[in-house]
Assembly symmetry: D2
Homo-oligomer: 405 residues x 4
Amino acid sequence: MPKARKIINDPVYGFITIDHPLLLQIISHPCYQRLRNIHQMAFAHLVYPGAVHSRLHHSLGAYHLMCTALNELKGKGTDITEAEELGAKLAILLHDIGHGPFSHALEHELIKDAHHESISLLIMQKLNEEFGGQLQTAIDIFTDQHPKKFLHQLVSGQLDVDRMDYLNRDSFFTGVAEGVIGYDRIIKMLAVKDGNLVVEEKAIYSIEKFLLSRRLMYWQVYLHKTVVAAEKMLIMILRRAKALIASGIETIGATSAIDKFLQSSGSEVTIESLLDDFCDMDDHDVMATVKNWCHHPDKILSVLCKAIIHRKVMHIKLQSTPIDMDFQEQKKKEVAGIVGIDEADASYLAFGGEATNLLYNINNESINILHKDGSLKDISQVDNPLIDVKISEPVKKYYFCYLRV
Amino acid sequence: MPKARKIINDPVYGFITIDHPLLLQIISHPCYQRLRNIHQMAFAHLVYPGAVHSRLHHSLGAYHLMCTALNELKGKGTDITEAEELGAKLAILLHDIGHGPFSHALEHELIKDAHHESISLLIMQKLNEEFGGQLQTAIDIFTDQHPKKFLHQLVSGQLDVDRMDYLNRDSFFTGVAEGVIGYDRIIKMLAVKDGNLVVEEKAIYSIEKFLLSRRLMYWQVYLHKTVVAAEKMLIMILRRAKALIASGIETIGATSAIDKFLQSSGSEVTIESLLDDFCDMDDHDVMATVKNWCHHPDKILSVLCKAIIHRKVMHIKLQSTPIDMDFQEQKKKEVAGIVGIDEADASYLAFGGEATNLLYNINNESINILHKDGSLKDISQVDNPLIDVKISEPVKKYYFCYLRV
Amino acid sequence: MPKARKIINDPVYGFITIDHPLLLQIISHPCYQRLRNIHQMAFAHLVYPGAVHSRLHHSLGAYHLMCTALNELKGKGTDITEAEELGAKLAILLHDIGHGPFSHALEHELIKDAHHESISLLIMQKLNEEFGGQLQTAIDIFTDQHPKKFLHQLVSGQLDVDRMDYLNRDSFFTGVAEGVIGYDRIIKMLAVKDGNLVVEEKAIYSIEKFLLSRRLMYWQVYLHKTVVAAEKMLIMILRRAKALIASGIETIGATSAIDKFLQSSGSEVTIESLLDDFCDMDDHDVMATVKNWCHHPDKILSVLCKAIIHRKVMHIKLQSTPIDMDFQEQKKKEVAGIVGIDEADASYLAFGGEATNLLYNINNESINILHKDGSLKDISQVDNPLIDVKISEPVKKYYFCYLRV
Amino acid sequence: MPKARKIINDPVYGFITIDHPLLLQIISHPCYQRLRNIHQMAFAHLVYPGAVHSRLHHSLGAYHLMCTALNELKGKGTDITEAEELGAKLAILLHDIGHGPFSHALEHELIKDAHHESISLLIMQKLNEEFGGQLQTAIDIFTDQHPKKFLHQLVSGQLDVDRMDYLNRDSFFTGVAEGVIGYDRIIKMLAVKDGNLVVEEKAIYSIEKFLLSRRLMYWQVYLHKTVVAAEKMLIMILRRAKALIASGIETIGATSAIDKFLQSSGSEVTIESLLDDFCDMDDHDVMATVKNWCHHPDKILSVLCKAIIHRKVMHIKLQSTPIDMDFQEQKKKEVAGIVGIDEADASYLAFGGEATNLLYNINNESINILHKDGSLKDISQVDNPLIDVKISEPVKKYYFCYLRV
């Protein structure tokens, strides 16, 4: 058993303290260490060079905020047992363990119908067996089966520590000051009312700022044109590779983990049966494969791979109205001509779609505000000149990407 | 030609402005983009999870400080032509372009006698040809052939912008507050005297702090036991692979770039002839290779690779006195027994050495201080109770690593 | 003449450089040094203990941003002569020189119809005479008589460096993270089009955040209940003192500067004739007077003064709807009874009013956005889901203060 | 009784939480509120304009660090009762309550033999009576009568939270980055061994940095020439006023609190009998008095006062060797001639002395380091190339101030 106390330097919060042997064991488990090699923000570093932090770092940060939030709630008299505390900490530590490399892009490309949250659950169950059932409370909290709802809401809800950390951490590493949130104030104002997580009235400005920061990060960073285009290109690379395989052409150069998923992609193979392989796969597999394929004989595959590696990201139009079909057709022809491929294949190199809430759901921002008199109101009901009723309108954008030639 | 002005968000300095077409062309060149996939701090992220910034990011940061320093000097009346300004900016942008992946560890393992500075020069010369001689002044400054010595000293000297950036950036990303330096004050106090870079007397406290920060970062971060052990393990992996190749065993699983270097490692092949391959190689190659070799039939290779990937870094002793030989022998035996290998091969899994100025030279810290009366004094001659004469003493440590079994 | 270069440490921007002899002379002039003893945020430190920075510090900060903005514009090719540059720097350095102590509260109490901006102009004219006309361009810019409108707009406009500094600095010293603005990005995006200051399209998120931060600071800090109540109390103290004087009662204990203003307050004396006395008066006069009056025989005066000094700030209701008259009357009676004064005088200790845009005008937020195609649009016309059309709605609140008894 | 939980924004630590009714009562007591109007750094703001934070703010900050440290120690199993916790928090909150305005300068000028620590104790005893003995444990801890020595050491010792806060806070507000210390790491490494406060071995680099930061702040800030000169001028102002009173000349213009102390200064009056007056006196008294005396008929008094108010601080020589007596005599003559006073009185306007450890004692830096094997070593005994043996050498400087004419 590892020693029971570890302090980790974190540029965002200063220090993160791990003070339970089980937490230390989980953190040093290969399944968790894999997250070290998965970028939290995928290709965002192509635009924001500092955005190279890992999912491991984010989940440690979210864990730290969970510790702070639990302490705050306990200080206000909320009843939380030691087992629940450990469970909530484990749940947040493991909430992203099911993320694969570039998961927003690849979630449905490498294996069908495998959402990262359900993979997280599978891995938690696997670990629960390995650790003799010690993760059961964590799993109950993660899946909202635990009677104290607020614990689940801290892991996944409108004010959960997951998004508090990612907004803050992503702002920090990108250098986009607009995304910084007053997480410490929000956490200090958390309370539990009738078993649910609420915030005290005094936090209303911080909440308003929190919601705005999310929207700003959404448009300025997460949906940045170059980032979106790079992710789309990666999808096309995988699709092309699968098409080649389907037509019997070898795609030598994939790392063994990637290869396994590509080979099984047409079949009925489930994520359950590939879980160990999944736990072996990280960004290095994807990037090394893409690098090797730069020299692949298939023109489409090599053109796309080189464009990623040399950061010649596709042109992208991103707008509120649908993109003109003639423009799309013309670009496809041009690209096909220049690269020297069939027009039928041009849609690998020039393609469009819709970017609605592509990365993070920003609807349903219902947040309960606890007034001094003990009453609860949803934030949209609060009489405050700062609160913008339009906050929950959905936003959709149309995009069209085409090779930079 | 790309448009002539670009602003890059940087969490350390806020914004970095690129405002010359040639600078933009260099930055978007594949040789430069390669640095995006090379960690500035190699394995330091195993201890400091935030330390995942790239060499590309560092060289942009050093470029930013160069811009600031040149502006400051021009403001004080130092004569710097536009061509020299561009040259100095190009020189610092490219000063690290010859770094390979994990270069402090691998510099002499993948190819003999190829120091990263000489590779930087080779690549700069290659680019100079490609860009029709536009990099000649940059090369002259880099190699200290340019008559205005202070320009070279800004690139490489006791107070160069290279180390100002890396100390600051490494502190920032590790979260080690002790390493933060007052770079803005030092830069504001830079001056040129008789063609050489000096600092004004008022900066003396900042310089003292700068020297101390270097020492602190050196011991607390760059020579952190776990980091040193991981680098040593990587060296052993490459050595084992080369030994296997030499004995005719295939080491399938290396990416194509790594494979080329391994195959040629025993031969007389020079870096010049492999320069294009070198420019294809980054951290993804090393890490994907190590991942693939986790399944290699050679026990030593697979044991070492798994230990890296699962972060089961070797035990390491690091001390001021030589490590007891009996202890070393005993550990070798133990390890050989447990892993099940010949004792002759145990030195792959249990080995020692000296860590003297392993990463950065901290000797020769001569810094010229410009007094108000115009006289110059070396910092060690300054009558100041804060200045520690022992500052330039060499420091050596002995280490011994052995597998965690 | 003082030496021509000075560097001032500033916790907000790092260093502020003064590099012109005239600027140094102005800064060391007693009129300017007076600002050292005037709190930028008056009584805000009663709630935010860090908010004790001075108007001198703020105007140095605004000067620093002016330097940055002018450099940026010159770098983009905007024609700015050396005389204009110096003028703009002097104008911003002196823009607040007409502020008296607690000026938002006392502006119309100590001397009638004397707005701080017109006093600033008077003092600038006085200095202009003293310095042989060297401030003429500064005065022209300050009064918008200079032909290049953008210089005035940098001093006073929707995106002027004054409010950029105060929002940022006030956030910094209060510790209210919500008010931090991305001033560096906004300044980097400033441009001049047809002689007017505009911002490039890319800054739109930063502008949105800037506008929101202003609103947040407005409600969370500038109009904080306790701060408003303390300012109202100070007004009542002065009113009471003037009433006592008018009825022939001596108000021994005022410092000589305060005394002069009180004595002349009923008369036709103008600010012009009292300008030298005005330039002698700072927060120490007000606070020492209030402290001395704690022992004044007049109950109302001493009660109010003690309440300020001991931080027993009045209760205050602050709401969107008018405050119930019965409640007001009842409170007046209560207070009069407890303190033992006539009900006729109770309105010194229990009083109400409206707080509409009390401190800073937040209407008229028209900001010109420069699009890539060279066209201009007001920010409210920009098609962007983040821009909130309601941003320019006026906001009014009703308040009622009464003694804490 | 005030409500039992209050959160205060602090730019240094984010938020400070007060969660005990007695703490809130103490904080809102007039004796404590007085600290709001006493600058923590006296005249340092003449050089560092941001250095205007109050002693109230510092003591809240030190209280916050105390809370953190106690939590950390409790987390490591140190036995601390609730009463002790409250006592330690009260002790640190009140540790500086005996500071008068500009106390480093005026401590022995306004009343003889009254050291601020003994006045703090007097006020704590007064409050203890007022609060029915609830402060007894705090007093015992403050005076080191409490059996658990480490509690006193947290209030006042080599690693106490007092100096951790002031170094950090003074760095923050001055903008002198060199003074920033890694307080969070040091606090996380505190432990109790045999009843005494020690630090774990891992903190050694942070401690080294802490000691260096102290020295840097000492020379760069606390003993900055201009700051020292201004303090010396204030001493001379008081001495001159006392001399005038002694010779029967009225010094109209002093506020009532200052006046009382001046009048009694020659007598046998003790601080005990003037304690209430002492608790009425703050920076506003000193500064308003100095302002009023700018117009005093005594030339020496008015010249000195104007020099302070207009920031025409005296010239000062500050050096390691004694200042030449001839130079001193010559300057005295010059000054006397120009101002038009007797040479006998010239020593008010030109005077010298020694600045040895003027503000803070930096000797006796013995710090116990707790090694992993449980052994204790003083930091000077630690085998570490970073530790500088000269760290505890005393430092003395000679100064000579003379009027800027």
